[in-house]
Symmetry: C2
Subunit: 134 residues, 2 copies
């Protein structure tokens, strides 16, 4: 689905920043940080605009955010768009890449009585295939 369609469906205006974020993320096989997205875009946007655009897209579940250790913050298209199941994320210590592991479905474990699970997040850290084989 194209950015314009996506935005239209959820009643958001088709603005250059949103459009840029969505298409940049969609083209990338890894999750991207604000800076990585910024570098790939032709047009310049204020940092505030990025913050607000990310927030809007997150609220509308167009994208999801992956945070590694409070340091690395990356974004990827959300499940509802890619129709993928909830998945684990991989973080490479070497190159810093964050990858959505669509083939690794996340199943919530059984918790003690009384606990209600809404979401389970899995971040696997190590070396990605490229860095490991170097």
């Amino acid at each position: 689905m194209k950015p314009k369609q996506i935005l239209h469906e959820i009643d958001l205006k088709f603005t250059p920043c949103r459009q840029g974020i969505i298409s940049t993320i969609a083209e990338s096989k890894n999750a991207l940080s604000e800076n990585e997205i910024k570098e790939k875009l032709d047009e310049k946007f204020d940092r505030t605009t990025f913050y607000r655009s990310f927030k809007t897209l997150l609220d509308k579940n167009i994208i999801h955010k992956i945070v590694v250790d409070n340091q690395v913050v990356k974004y990827a298209l959300d499940n509802s768009i890619t129709l993928k199941v909830h998945h684990a994320h991989f973080y490479c210590y070497q190159c810093g890449a964050v990858k959505c592991m669509d083939e690794i479905p996340v199943t919530s474990p059984k918790l003690p009585d009384g606990f209600y699970i809404q979401e389970t997040e899995v971040i696997i850290k190590g070396l990605c295939d490229k860095c490991n084989l170097k």
Copy 2:
């Protein structure tokens, strides 16, 4: 094991801030934030001192850090101290508590060839037993 022993074993000086952090965390059944620890301590410490103490204790694997969505940052005693296996963390949307789920061992899934797993982090979000049953 007491704070003094712990610190001595890894060649760290026995200072009031480190001592306070370790004993406060050890006494709590949930992971604690900087502010929660600060409130429980009698003595006051500069924020810089907390940052540096946490860093030192993290580096030496005395404690571990749990970050939820880049917002909530909490600390708990590390595995090497409590001798517990690597475990999942639970975050309650309602009360904000972060709990080490020692009974939920974390097993790393099988990744595609080439990937090397060093660590797997699991954060389960929802309602804790107390908030859920209210």
